[in-house]
């Protein structure tokens, strides 16, 4: 197989700055050499490749947009997007790890934490010496996190947490959990460290999707944490939603990576697979699929790039992020399924990446706000009428 060259039908490369291209190419090479050779093995075993963590940290993949004084690269949002795209070209689980660490753990500590929180945690998380997770979803509150049951009460100069979170990426691996709970009726963010009394994080099993990623429950039974573990400026549902905006932005790019991997696999396969005496790429039905894939990838790329440029000017609206997450994941999944079709029976084998991407994207379509919820968020924005309440 020739080295992956990216999919760039509109020469969007020309719109990227030097550091954006260097960052993309470094991660592309990293994925080619470190992720692709081992990922199927981990996917099959249902394990996250922990040995990638120090290497990802060395590259600077954790919190890459945060300030240099905390050990981060201080890159722009377009670069961040390109990193997510390349990671997800490898596997959505690997991208999820980086998304959670960066957008859902380092970001809230940076945005809502005290200077002490930042100085203690950000360098540890950036260097991969600590892993974090983000606990918002509960067994009975997914799309409607505002209804959460988990509660914090003041006690003995600190807080006591009670409740349970579910579907938490990296939960079992995490040294620190950013946990959202109601304090006096208001949603606040708390840092809960691994090993805190009354806190357990059992791994969830039985997933057919995102298998190279750890998903866990977080259980709090009279879990006491010191007062200083409250993220001081967090307040209301808006705080976790701000984190989700960061992560969803990365997902919009990540989905393009999955789609590129599937398109690339399908195109190569179609050119070499002979049926009826011709490569299947010679049949009109196959060409229509390939062109549809390329067309959707190109549109998604344009969407991401402009969204990133807006975000770099602080002008991206969360509804615009919703539209990109919704569109790009939807089409990435469609592209993965089409690639699977083009590969015929081979498409179901783990010798090719397409079935893994297709399965992963089922989760990606649901987490960080389901496809439907993003539809309703944009729907409310354009009509002024909320349809989800």
């Amino acid at each position: 197989m020739p080295r992956f060259q990216g999919v760039d039908y509109y020469n969007l490369n020309e719109l990227l700055g030097q550091e954006e291209k260097l960052a993309r190419d470094a991660v592309r090479a990293f994925v080619e050499e470190n992720v692709l050779p081992i990922i199927e093995k981990h996917y099959r075993a249902g394990t996250f490749p922990m040995d990638l963590v120090p290497k990802m940290a060395e590259l600077g993949l954790f919190g890459p947009t945060l300030p240099a004084k905390y050990g981060c690269a201080e890159m722009n949002n377009v670069s961040y997007g390109l990193l997510m795209q390349e990671l997800e070209r490898g596997d959505s689980g690997v991208r999820s790890f980086a998304s959670v660490q960066s957008g859902l753990v380092m970001y809230p500590i940076y945005a809502f934490g005290s200077e002490e929180h930042k100085e203690r945690w950000l360098p540890l998380l950036a260097s991969g010496k600590a892993v974090g997770c983000f606990g918002l979803t509960e067994p009975d509150y997914g799309s409607n996190p505002g209804g959460m049951i988990t509660r914090a009460e003041r006690k003995d100069g600190g807080f006591v947490l009670n409740g349970a979170k579910m579907w938490i990426t990296n939960g079992t691996l995490a040294d620190v959990a950013v946990v959202w709970a109601k304090l006096d009726g208001e949603i606040r963010g708390f840092l809960v460290e691994k090993g805190s009394k009354g806190f357990t994080a059992p791994e969830m099993h039985g997933k057919h999707s995102l298998r190279a990623s750890v998903t866990s429950e977080l259980v709090f039974q009279d879990c006491w944490i010191p007062e200083s573990n409250l993220l001081p400026t967090s307040g209301g549902l808006k705080s976790p939603l701000m984190c989700l905006s960061q992560a969803r932005y990365g997902i919009a790019w990540g989905a393009v990576g999955s789609a590129m991997a599937c398109y690339d696999a399908a195109l190569n396969y179609a050119k070499s697979r002979i049926q009826f005496g011709k490569p299947i790429a010679a049949f009109q039905l196959t060409q229509e699929k390939l062109v549809h894939m390329l067309s959707e990838i190109t549109k998604a790329q344009l969407m991401c790039l402009q969204l990133g440029r807006l975000k770099d000017q602080n002008k991206a609206k969360f509804t615009q992020i919703s539209l990109a997450k919704r569109n790009n994941v939807y089409h990435a999944l469609e592209i993965a399924r089409m690639a699977r079709e083009i590969l015929g029976a081979n498409g179901i084998l783990d010798e090719y990446p397409v079935m893994r991407h297709a399965n992963n994207l089922e989760s990606v379509k649901t987490y960080e706000g389901t496809h439907e919820m993003h539809t309703l968020i944009v729907g409310e924005d354009i009509t002024g009428i909320a349809a989800f309440e």
């Binding site: 080295r3 030097q18 990293f30 590259l59 890159m75």
Partner: protein, 248 residues
């Protein structure tokens, strides 16, 4: 210590190459350029020497503005400074080597590194020409280099084996795959490299000593022939190799 690494900006190994309208050069449209892969080993070796013995790494490239992209990559990997010897003319190995040697002489470094060859024209000549022009010892196609004081011991690939060479600095080394494992430019490295300057100089290379007269694609290969898939095919294979291919 001062280390100079000479790097080239070349068409990507996977690029599909077409011959230009002048039938003397390649058509550059749509071709992605990368740092010459052997030069990455040279950059990495310099960075490791620097990390161990401290000092400065200067990356230099002769060519047009597009070479800055490759110089940026060397800076992002960790080189301290980059110099573009700006020159848009087509050059042969001799005139490139002369311009580089003139530059290097002014800098008086402790060692100079090259890739063993550039994958564009594959001459494998520039590094060794520079060493000769400077009158410095050289070790080419190196897979291991050890440094003690100002003495280096290099293990180099030769036909069918390895050769160990002892040489005194200043010296020239050309890097082979296996010398080290080049690092990825880290994101922090990429960001700090933005503040590192790329200096431009106007070299005065001499006339080329050779000229490209014509460039042609190799003749298309005829389809191979499968004479069979088991031992029964051996007699026919022997006959064809003997009578048609005339190789046995």
């Amino acid at each position: 210590m001062k280390l100079i690494v000479c790097i080239n900006h070349v068409p990507d190994t996977t690029a599909k190459i077409n011959i230009g309208n002048d039938a003397k050069s390649i058509d550059r449209t749509g071709v992605t350029y990368i740092i010459n892969p052997y030069d990455e080993f040279a950059v990495e070796e310099c960075l490791r020497w620097k990390e161990k013995h401290s000092g400065e790494v200067v990356a230099v490239s002769l060519g047009g503005d597009t070479h800055k992209e490759t110089l940026r990559k060397a800076l992002a990997m960790g080189a301290d400074k980059a110099v573009l010897l700006k020159d848009d003319a087509p050059r042969d190995s001799y005139s490139v080597a002369r311009a580089l040697a003139d530059f290097i002489k002014k800098q008086s470094p402790d060692a100079v590194f090259f890739g063993k060859q550039s994958i564009d024209s594959d001459d494998a000549a520039v590094g060794l020409m520079v060493a000769e022009m400077l009158g410095w010892p050289s070790a080419s196609v190196a897979v291991k280099i050890e440094l003690t004081g100002d003495h280096a011991t290099a293990t180099c690939e030769i036909e069918g084996g390895h050769e160990t060479i002892a040489l005194k600095l200043p010296a020239v080394f050309t890097a082979q795959k296996g010398l080290n494992e080049p690092r990825y430019p880290s994101l922090k490295g990429i960001m700090t490299s933005k503040n590192k300057p790329i200096e431009e100089e106007s070299p005065a290379p001499p006339q080329n000593k050779s000229e490209v007269v014509a460039m042609k694609r190799p003749a298309a290969k005829n389809a191979g022939k499968i004479v069979g898939t088991d031992v029964s095919a051996v007699p026919e294979l022997v006959r064809l190799l003997h009578e048609e291919a005339k190789v046995i």
